[in-house]
């Protein structure tokens, strides 16, 4: 391929058809008039039936089709969590944490934030907050304090923690698969900055809430008399789950070295846990997989495949290059800040699904002589990937709709009679989002451009 042909995008009726499907689908997803999974599947169906994308391409070609790596990694982790959930592990951890904090509200807030962040780094954010938030509401009732600051600070911590690892948040899973980045790559490049962000975050919490959270000694006694071991409903299954989870994490750490995909590790882990859980009927664990999310991914991948094939993404990447003049520091910063604000208001999953091929196309323009991993892992390109991950994950904190975990917590608070308005969430979330992205900006700048 010569440089000239790579710079051309043929704009014909197929191009417009694909672009229209893409734009309308995204607009309807943002409007929330129709469930996003249905929209994604309709869009995918149109791409196929109009032959913009052949079914073979959608199902079997990596460049255009469904990213099965992402799909199977998500499904497998969901199965593991489904088996683990009813054991009472999360409730145990939460009650234990509250006791460790001796019922002191500020300490509870800080410990809960740390626990939520760590759990979210290895398990999905929604499950983590879905199980920690009810305990938080109970603890707040026991201490007779307003639960809202606790819930919001927890969900913000969950989104921060999820940024730390390859499996922490769906954008990272998608970026890892497309950019061929390993679990260790994320540990080396993102975990340090996330730890730094957490320290800053906790400091801010102490500053804001240090003097405001008060309770009485007799109320703390309610917490101290709770017996966390009563939360464990199936100790045997819990031990098995933790054992397998540990194996899976070790597998993730080693996957790059042994040249396995993360999905392989997770799939084996899920299968092994199903085997040793002694279940006669895996139906329940499999049915509980969040199939709407999985099919949302499948539909999206096909829609994106269509617009990649017709050249829309390449056209967009040329525009970005025009804007940044090929300056990669400017590109990183643009990607990070744009991603943060975009993810605060729209679902970061379709956003990252679009950005991944865009960045790859951009790299093709910049270094036409390179191919595959050599291109994807070009040292100058790496900070762009990390900026995308940091922006897309941390951006979720900006508003109440920025991340699925936020939506869950707001809904739960409302049903418990504690309404969190869009504005109230933003009052906490937006400053924290901006602060964490500033820390990320400094990190990326210092680590990849100064030294």
């Amino acid at each position: 391929m010569t440089a000239e042909t790579t710079n051309q995008v043929v704009i014909n009726s197929t191009f417009w058809a694909a672009t229209l499907i893409f734009l309308i689908a995204y607009a309807v997803i943002v409007s929330e008039r129709v469930h996003k999974t249905i929209v994604a599947l309709i869009g995918a169906g149109l791409m196929l039936i109009l032959k913009i994308l052949e079914q073979h391409e959608a199902f079997h070609i990596e460049e255009f089709g469904v990213d099965w790596n992402v799909i199977f990694l998500l499904i497998s982790m969901m199965v593991i969590i489904n088996i683990m959930r009813p054991t009472g592990f999360f409730e145990y951890i939460a009650i234990k944490s509250a006791k460790l904090a001796k019922g002191e509200p500020l300490r509870i807030m800080i410990i809960f934030s740390v626990v939520t962040a760590v759990l979210s780094a290895f398990l999905d954010n929604v499950t983590t907050v879905l199980l920690i938030a009810p305990v938080t509401l109970l603890i707040a009732d026991a201490l007779e304090v307003d639960p809202v600051p606790f819930l919001i600070t927890e969900v913000l911590a969950s989104n921060i923690g999820g940024t730390a690892t390859l499996i922490g948040d769906p954008p990272n899973i998608m970026i890892a698969s497309k950019a061929r980045l390993s679990f260790l790559d994320f540990i080396i490049h993102l975990t340090p900055v996330v730890i730094l962000i957490m320290i800053v975050y906790l400091f801010v919490l102490k500053l804001i809430f240090g003097k405001r959270l008060k309770t009485r000694q007799e109320l703390k006694e309610r917490i101290l008399t709770m017996n966390e071991t009563e939360a464990i409903r199936d100790p045997v299954l819990l031990k098995k789950s933790l054992f397998v989870l540990m194996l899976v994490i070790v597998g993730f750490i080693l996957h790059g070295i042994f040249h396995y995909e993360p999905a392989t590790v997770a799939l084996c882990g899920a299968a092994f846990l199903l085997l040793i859980s002694n279940t006669r009927n895996p139906h329940h664990y499999l049915a509980e997989v969040e199939w709407p999310t999985i099919f949302f991914f499948i539909g999206l991948f096909i829609i994106i495949g269509g617009v990649v094939k017709v050249g829309l993404i390449k056209w967009l990447s040329l525009k970005v290059l025009e804007l940044t003049q090929g300056n990669l520091f400017a590109t990183s910063m643009l990607v990070m800040w744009f991603s943060a604000f975009a993810s605060a208001f729209v679902d970061n999953i379709p956003y990252v699904a679009t950005m991944n091929p865009l960045i790859i196309d951009m790299a093709h323009q910049l270094w036409p002589e390179l191919e595959a991993v050599k291109l994807l892992h070009k040292p100058e390109l790496m900070p762009v990937w990390w900026s995308l991950a940091l922006g897309a994950c941390l951006g979720g904190n900006g508003t109440a709709i920025g991340a699925s975990a936020n939506v869950i917590v707001v809904g739960m608070a409302e049903r418990s009679g504690r309404k969190i308005t869009f504005l109230k969430f933003m009052l906490y979330g937006m400053p924290i989002m901006i602060l964490t992205v500033i820390v990320s900006t400094l990190y990326v700048w210092l680590r990849y451009y100064v030294f």
Binding site: E91, L131, A133, P134, V135, A142
Partner: protein
Amino acid sequence: MRVKDIMEPLIDYLSPDNTLKEAVNKMRVSRRSEKEIGVKGMIVLDQDKKLVGIVSIKDILRTMIPAYMSYTELGEFTWDGMLENMAKRVADKKVNEFMTKNVITVHEEDPLMECADVIVRHNLQRLPVVDKSKNVVGMVYVRDLYYAIVKTLLDTEA
């Protein structure tokens, strides 16, 4: 026998705008029979006397339990005085917020077997009885059906 032969007249009912506290009081003073005072459930009629819901003591109990406890099992971690606190907190909740809205009814001309089937299938204690124009004309309680059975068995023996 048909439902209308065993049903009891409708005496008291709740309004959707009643508070939980008012509802509890109405149920406490409502006359069940000559001797007994206090009922364990009551239907809810709107301004036009249309049936809009039913409240049982279980609905009231459910209202006491905080919503977050339904997400996961937290019963072991509650404390002395929590239920009493919650009761005070929800005292002003409106009946239409906690009543069962899907009310199962029987028609006054329905045979008793249908009535028994519905009560057992849905695990009910009481059933509003309606006429052709869907107005509530009475109530059938589990005990009314049971008395009908007792009467059948013991009268034939005698």
